[in-house]
């Protein structure tokens, strides 16, 4: 039989079943680890089904592997799944990160493994669900649901006594805007009587969602703000550094970026093309500022986790900058960069986790001179750094280049200035990463490395790192493999040029005001 | 004819009694007295019922009053039992001292 129509459902169900299975198994020995590893690997292999059976020639805007059955008659809610170039690679990404997460947690999580792996798998369920669901209700379901496992993971396995605060902070930051998002969704439903995304997109294209432009504008903001907080975009990132510095490695790997960015691309741009164009100049600015801001703050951190947090902020700001340039290049680059940045970030956090396993600290002042003791470690760190600072031939560069050149081509106010500012990020990123490398690995031995007995990467950690390294190279050299599908999506979004693009100066002011209120 | 009284007056009388009932509920400290003031409120309502029954020539109003009486009796039984219980645990009938649970 043809698996294509059920594959997405299967992808959601496998980790769920895995979680239930783990709940039933006894928590003894390495059973939990092996179980989780098996489940995640199976999921990953299943996700690989998508790129191999994806119809790259399909008309853009069509969803593949689709499932569409009524779920609830009234309100009209459907169980509608499907992927396109935008979401396909994100699903695969989610698939591959999971087993790596299990591998790095192997030894790091030694107590209450059961709780950990159950919620870890639930987290994966939620994320895959977000990426594949095309019904606003279903999507919102997964979107909200994804908060719970993450919160509990942070609260339970956080690093310091601050964990509970961090967890609640994370949850509140994500939940309250989402509540407003729900209002937006419901309003849309009241206007159109459907939750179905493709349908809504058609309506939006026909300008027939609602005559009330002010309400529509507020609605679009309710969407955008909720997503922007989750990304997070520059001034809304209050939760990020706490959450990242508390959360266990496996959780951090999937904490920021993906979900919010995907949602912006899929829903904000899909349902509110005009409004998105209207707000774009502001977002462009926020993106550029965020890049520099994150990089500068990363530059002055002493704690590796916090440094990585601000690095993440800077990285996602790149993507925001790209997608809101509304140029093919920017959008393609942005989408591509979501994938590559997640991989790089994952590598970063995994390495930090491994380092923490060795020395039990993230404080750079206690580290130093490790390079001579852990050669493989430093090699991996340098490779990751190069990918993060966007060295050509590694994954980071393709995205960055496309994004920034997209910014240069965009039509919005002051785009040149913002592009210049954004590009200066490449200097700063190099600065903080290299400085970190130097402080951690070069120079004289720090306090910890001197006193703590440590060991270089073991087989398991090699197993976890090498796939990423290879992916870095592959994505850096053979980007078309990924861009082929992504380009279709990016081109479509860029093509939704709205008739009502006002003169740019007005647009910025307008969006600024509306943001203010 | 002078002998007639507007129904409204009965209603106002009811309102007066009702409000006095509310007021004494607010003012009295002794639980029993408070309970008594509730009875007063019920009586006010009864008066209103009767007045309306008279105005509409509807017996159901009076029936209602009848039921109110029954209910009042039942409430009295239970209420006084509760009061006894509280007196057992607290040795007081002053409501101002019955505020274990607050905030």
């Amino acid at each position: 039989m043809n698996i294509d129509h059920s594959i997405l459902t299967i992808l959601i169900l496998v980790p769920l079943a895995g979680a239930i299975l783990l709940a039933l198994l006894p928590d003894k020995g390495k059973l939990m680890q092996w179980g989780a590893l098996a489940v995640t690997l199976i999921t990953f292999l299943l996700t690989l089904h998508l790129p191999f059976h994806y119809d790259y020639g399909a008309a853009s805007g069509t969803f593949q592997f689709a499932t569409d059955v009524p779920w609830i008659a009234s309100p009209a809610i459907r169980y509608h799944l499907g992927v396109d170039g935008l979401s396909m690679w994100l699903v695969v990404l989610t698939g591959i990160l999971a087993p790596l997460g299990v591998l790095v947690s192997w030894r790091a999580i030694d107590t209450r493994k059961k709780t950990f792996y159950i919620f870890f798998l639930l987290q994966q369920v939620a994320m895959i669900g977000v990426f594949v669901s095309l019904d606003l209700f279903l999507y919102y379901g997964f979107w909200e649901f994804s908060l719970i496992p993450m919160t509990i993971l942070i609260a339970t396995f956080g690093r310091t006594e601050n964990r509970r605060r961090a967890a609640i902070k994370f949850f509140l930051y994500a939940f309250i805007p989402s509540a407003i998002l729900l209002v937006g969704i419901l309003w849309l439903y009241a206007q159109t009587g459907t939750f179905d995304l493709p349908r809504l997109t058609q309506l939006a294209a026909a300008h027939s969602i609602s005559g009330n432009s002010a309400a529509l504008w507020l609605c679009s903001l309710s969407f955008l703000v909720a997503f922007a907080v989750k990304v997070p975009v520059f001034p809304l990132h209050g939760w990020l550094s706490d959450a990242i510095s508390e959360a266990p490695t496996a959780a951090v790997m999937v904490l920021a970026g993906k979900l919010g960015l995907y949602s912006i691309l899929r829903f904000s741009f899909g349902i509110f093309p005009e409004q998105s164009h209207r707000i774009a100049p502001l977002m462009l600015a926020l993106g550029a500022i965020g890049i520099v801001y994150g990089a500068l703050l990363a530059l002055v951190q002493k704690d590796l986790k916090r440094l990585s947090a601000y690095a993440t902020l800077s990285a996602v700001a790149f993507i925001i900058f790209g997608i809101f340039s509304f140029t093919v290049s920017g959008l393609d680059g942005g989408i591509f960069h979501i994938v590559s940045e997640s991989l790089t970030g994952a590598a970063f956090f995994m390495l930090l986790g491994i380092l923490y396993e060795r020395y039990g600290t993230y404080d750079m002042r206690e580290l130093g001179g490790i390079a001579s003791k852990l050669p493989w470690m430093v090699t991996m760190f340098v490779i990751m750094t190069l990918s993060l600072v966007g060295l050509p031939m590694l994954n980071g560069f393709v995205g960055e280049f496309l994004i920034l050149s997209g910014g240069m081509q965009s039509v919005f106010a002051y785009h040149v200035a913002w592009t210049v500012l954004a590009t200066s990020g490449v200097i700063l990123s190099a600065s903080y990463m290299l400085w970190m490398i130097q402080r951690v690995f070069y120079g004289n031995l720090g306090v910890k490395p001197e006193n703590v007995k440590s060991w270089d990467l073991d087989a398991r950690e090699h197993l976890a790192m090498w796939p990423l390294v290879i992916l870095f190279l592959a994505m850096g050299v053979a980007s078309p493999i990924w861009l082929r599908a992504i380009d279709a999506a990016g081109t479509r979004i860029a093509a939704t040029q709205t008739s009502s693009v006002q003169p740019q100066a007005q647009m910025t002011t307008a969006s600024a005001n509306s943001e203010a209120k | 004819m002078a002998a007639q009284v507007p129904t409204a007056y009965y209603l106002v009388l009811g309102a007066i009694l009702f409000s006095i009932g509310v007021g004494s509920f607010l003012i009295k400290r002794n639980i029993i007295t408070i309970f008594i003031s509730i009875e007063l409120m019920l009586n006010a309502v009864n008066l209103t019922f009767v007045a309306f029954a008279h105005q509409w020539h509807q017996i159901s109003g009076q029936i209602f009053v009848f039921f109110v009486m029954v209910v009042a009796a039942a409430e009295a039984a239970v209420g006084l039992a509760i009061i006894i219980a509280i007196f057992r645990t607290r040795q007081t009938l002053n409501v101002d001292q019955i505020d274990l649970m607050k905030l």
Binding site: - | Y10, L11, L13
Partner: protein, 169 residues
């Protein structure tokens, strides 16, 4: 006649109510409530509710109030001391009560015309006397509530038993 009855017993009722309010000792309050009930009984009668008037005297002031007095005696509740337990009661409560009164009487008086007048022994729909009428309705139209009341009583009894009996252990 009607007017006289209304004025006298209305005044009496109000006086009783106020006395209830002002008396410090619960027993006095209880007795002043009896006064109110009695005068109300008269008013009922004047409004053509003979049965209710009787029931008021027998059931209410007879049974219920006796129960009250009994409990007061049982717990020998003395003078209530003027504790300052609650400012809210005075600050928000009394104005609230006053407002309620004003609103009610405002509405009643403003709609006085529509409400019409009451006269002595107000005749009811059919010639039957009041008691017969009540009983008829009670056992046909309002049978269900009447029956259900038994459950109510049952519950009350249960409650009294449960609550009043001492905990044995």
């Amino acid at each position: 006649m009607q007017l006289a009855l209304f004025i006298i017993f209305g005044a009496l009722a109000v006086a009783g109510a106020l006395n209830l309010l002002l008396q410090r000792h619960p027993i006095n309050s209880a007795l002043s409530l009896v006064v109110v009930m009695m005068s109300l009984a008269v008013l009922y009668w004047s409004l053509g509710a003979e049965f209710l008037a009787a029931a008021q005297v027998i059931v209410y002031s007879g049974a219920i109030m006796v129960l009250f007095v009994f409990v007061i005696m049982l717990l020998n509740a003395g003078e209530e001391e003027r504790t300052k337990g609650s400012r809210a009661a005075y600050i928000v409560g009394i104005p609230g009560a006053a407002a309620i009164f004003c609103l009610l009487s405002f509405v009643f008086l403003s709609e006085q015309k529509a409400l019409g007048v009451a006269n002595l022994g107000g005749h009811l729909d059919n010639g039957l006397n009041n008691i017969a009428e009540i009983s008829q309705v009670l056992f046909t139209k309002q049978l269900l509530p009447f029956e259900v009341t038994s459950i109510l009583i049952l519950v009350a009894i249960l409650g009294a038993v449960v609550l009043a009996r001492k905990e044995e252990q």
